[in-house]
Symmetry: C2
Subunit: 193 residues, 2 copies
């Protein structure tokens, strides 16, 4: 059965972007939050990335993340051929990329998830960011799991993952912990009431 | 050599108090953040508490935490005889409690840490909260370690541990991870430049 999981790298102080990141001025480097995938990747981190791609049949991201990432990701983009659904209020025609990935624009989180599940087959759907989209899926109760990569740094600024008040607590269960120098990889299952 | 460590229980969304906690209206229950010490304590959590007391020679807390805790903690308080130094701008005479703990009021984080280190002997000094005091010690670069007990819940409100912007990132190294049903216990060492 297909699961929908959120996958985010977050600092200890709760930020998911570097202080200077925005769609207007994207960071020049991949950022300290993602050291575990780049500058300080260990074999355990590499395995984490491989596992993520192996489980995933389709990816959903937000429009802001797409706008920030489109150019630096390049062509072929680093999605290893997976279909990517971009949630936006202003859909435009799909963009086929080298390597097999197609960027498809969909209006609304429900419609995007439906499309992604169709495309994923037996595999899982990964919500890979950014923070706004993540919180929309969280608030809608559409997530089954969360993969949180906790970077051992207090950034002091940026965009928070959990930036709003919510009316009632959300319960999770930690089902796996893997610690590497650049991240503590935490897997959570959302507890349904 | 005496270490100064911060010890906090925090939700996944970064809160260290329940949404309704304040010095005026303390929560009636110990709160979901501390389930690992109360309602859902497992042997591994019990060991964590025992280890914390074994390493600690003196405790430093903030005035707000003291005001909230004084009555519910009772007499004897749950400090197992450890001396407790309360940072306040308005010191008052020390309060000896049953069981050996003395509440001593000290003006300023440096003075409180000096007094606590004298009292701790060879053992460590624990900064046990609240969030304001924790951030003061963090900003002053006076912490050697952080014990973060990450509760698998998004509270949706309360007081944030990391509530302010800071000029530059703070680097840490995760040195231990222990996962129990009610908390992921993370130990960090602060990386000195």
């Amino acid at each position: 059965m297909t699961k929908t999981y959120l996958d985010m790298s977050m600092s200890l102080d709760g930020f998911v972007t570097d202080p200077d990141a925005s769609s207007q001025t994207p960071s020049e480097d991949p950022g300290r939050l993602h050291d575990w995938m780049f500058a300080r990747q260990t074999p355990a981190d590499t395995e984490m990335v491989a596992e993520r791609y192996a489980r995933t049949g389709a990816v959903v991201i937000g429009r802001c993340m797409f706008d920030v990432g489109f150019k630096p990701w390049g062509d072929p983009p680093p999605f290893r051929g997976l279909p990517v659904f971009i949630v936006t209020h202003d859909p435009k025609p799909a963009i086929p990329m080298k390597g097999g990935t197609v960027y498809t624009f969909v209006n609304g989180i429900d419609a995007a998830l439906t499309r992604a599940k169709e495309a994923a087959g037996e595999r899982d759907v990964g919500v890979w960011g950014g923070a706004d989209l993540a919180m929309q899926y969280l608030d809608a109760g559409l997530l089954d799991e969360m993969e949180l990569h906790l970077a051992p740094i207090a950034l002091g600024g940026g965009k928070r993952l959990f930036d709003r008040k919510r009316p009632s607590p959300i319960e999770l269960t930690c089902t796996r912990t893997i610690s590497t120098p650049a991240a503590t990889h935490l897997r959570f299952r959302f507890t349904r009431a």
